[in-house]
Subunit: 131 residues, 4 copies
DNA sequence: GTGGTCTAGACCACT
DNA sequence: GTGGTCTAGACCACG
C-alpha cells in the first residue's frame, strides 16, 4: 500500500494523503483494523516532512476515519457504506476533469477517449510502483 | 459581458476571472480581437481591487490567451487550438480523475460511467450560466 | 520609405518611430530637406493612433532632427556626422542582443551564426515590404 | 548570493531580479535544486516590498525557471537547455539588432563587426560583475 | 519558517 | 482613456 504523492501539485500534500486514505478504505484495500504505514515510514519514503503526514493522520482521526491505537499506530476505524462513498469520493475529480473538457470545447467522445487514455496511464503507473 | 465574482469563495478572485475569461473564449462569447472590460471597469463594478483584475489579465497574457494592445486594453489573442494543445491542457485533470478512480478500485466501465455523469452535470451547469 | 511598426513590442510605438527616423537619416535613406510621410499617412497605414505619430515627430523636432515647415510637413534638418552616428545608433540593440547571447551561454561562433540568420530574415522581410 | 538592485533604474525592480536570477543560473552560480533567498529576506535586505520580490519569483516559476517547494521556498528547476530553446530565446533580440543594422544601411560585414564588439563589451561587463 | 492573496492608494507611461 | 509598477500592511495556507 503506497501513497502517490506529488509535492509540486497544487493540492496540499496533507490533502493528498487524507484523500488517498479515504479512497483506499472505500475501495476495500484498507479494511477495519488494518494499520496504516507509520508517519516516519511515509515521510522517509516520499521525502516529505513528518509533520505533514502527522497532520493528515490527525485530521483523519478527528473525522473518525482512523483510530489511534497506543503502541500500534493508526488503524482504520469501523467500515462505512462504501458503494455510496465511492461515488462521493470520485465525483469532485470527475467534475473537474469534465469541466476542463467542456471548457476546451471537447465533445463527449473526445473527452471519454482522453479519459480512457488517462486510465491506461494510471493503470500502468500503479503496476510500475508495485515492483 | 459580465464576470461572476464571489469574493468569499475559496478560489482566489484572480483565478475566478482567468477561468471565466477562458470559458467565455471557449464558448465563443469572446472571439479573437474582442477587447475585454477594462481593469478599472471590472474593479469598480465588483468592488474589488484593480490590482487583482490586473493580475488576472496579466496571467492570461502570459499564457497567450490575451494580448495587451497599448492604449486599447486587453484583446483576445489569436486562437491556436491545436488538437495537441487541447490534449496537453486536458491531461492533468484527466489523470487525477483516473487516479482517483483507480484508487477507489473502480473498473474501467464504472469509471467511465461516473465520468459521463460528470460531463452531463457540467454541460447542464454551463447552460444554466448562459441564461 | 516605410516604417516597421510592431504594436505588440515592448518598446513604445513612438520610440520605434523616432529610432527608425534617426536610422534612416544616418543611413542616408533620408537626406536634409526630405519630407517625411505625413502623420495621417503613417497612422492609417499602420493602424495606429495619429497622436502617437505626432508625438514622435514632435520629439524629433525638439531634438533638432526634424524641422516643421508650414504647408509642407516635417522635413529632415541639417545633416550630422553619420559615420559616428551609425555606431551610436546601432550599439544599444547590438549590446542587448549580445547580452542575451551571453546569458544563454552561447559562445562567439554560435552567437554570430544566429545574428547572421537574423540579418538574412530582416533582409528578406524588407524586400517583401517593398513589393 | 546577492542581488544588485537599483530602485531608481528605469527597468522595474521585479525585472532586475528575474534577469539576475536567470544570469546566475546561466553562469552556474545557481544550479538545479538550489534554493533562492526567501522573499522576505530579499525584501528586508534591499528595503523593497515583499510583493515585488514575490512577483519576480512568480514570473520565473511561470517561465519554468523556478519551482515552488512548499515550506522550502523557490528552487531552481531542472534545466532543459535544448539548443532549440536557446535559439527561440535569442532570436527576438537578434532580429531587432539585425533590423537596426539594416535600417542604418550597414552591410553584413559591418553589422557583424559591430556585433562582435558588443559581444566583447558584454563579456567584459560580466567579468567585472563577477568580482 | 515558506509563499499566496488581497486592499487602498499612489505615480508613471502610452495612446 | 488604457495597463504597469510599487508601497505598506494585513491575513491565510502550508510544512
Amino acid at each position: 500500500m503506497n501513497y502517490d504523492i506529488h509535492p509540486s501539485s497544487s493540492t496540499p500534500i496533507f490533502r493528498q494523503i487524507t484523500d488517498q486514505v479515504k479512497r483506499f478504505i472505500a475501495s476495500g484495500q484498507l479494511k477495519t483494523g488494518d494499520t496504516l504505514p507509520s508517519v516516519r515510514t511515509v515521510a522517509l519514503h516520499h521525502a516529505i516532512n513528518p509533520m505533514t503526514v502527522s497532520k493528515a493522520y490527525n485530521m483523519l482521526e478527528m473525522e473518525g476515519v482512523l483510530v489511534r491505537m497506543r503502541g500500534v499506530g493508526m488503524v482504520v476505524a469501523e467500515r462505512r457504506n462504501t458503494a455510496r462513498d465511492k461515488t462521493n469520493l470520485a465525483m469532485p475529480a470527475m467534475l473537474s476533469a469534465a469541466q476542463v473538457a467542456h471548457q476546451l470545447g471537447l465533445d463527449k467522445e473526445q473527452a471519454i477517449k482522453l479519459f480512457e487514455q488517462a486510465l491506461k496511464v494510471t493503470h500502468n503507473e500503479s503496476k510500475k510502483n508495485a515492483d
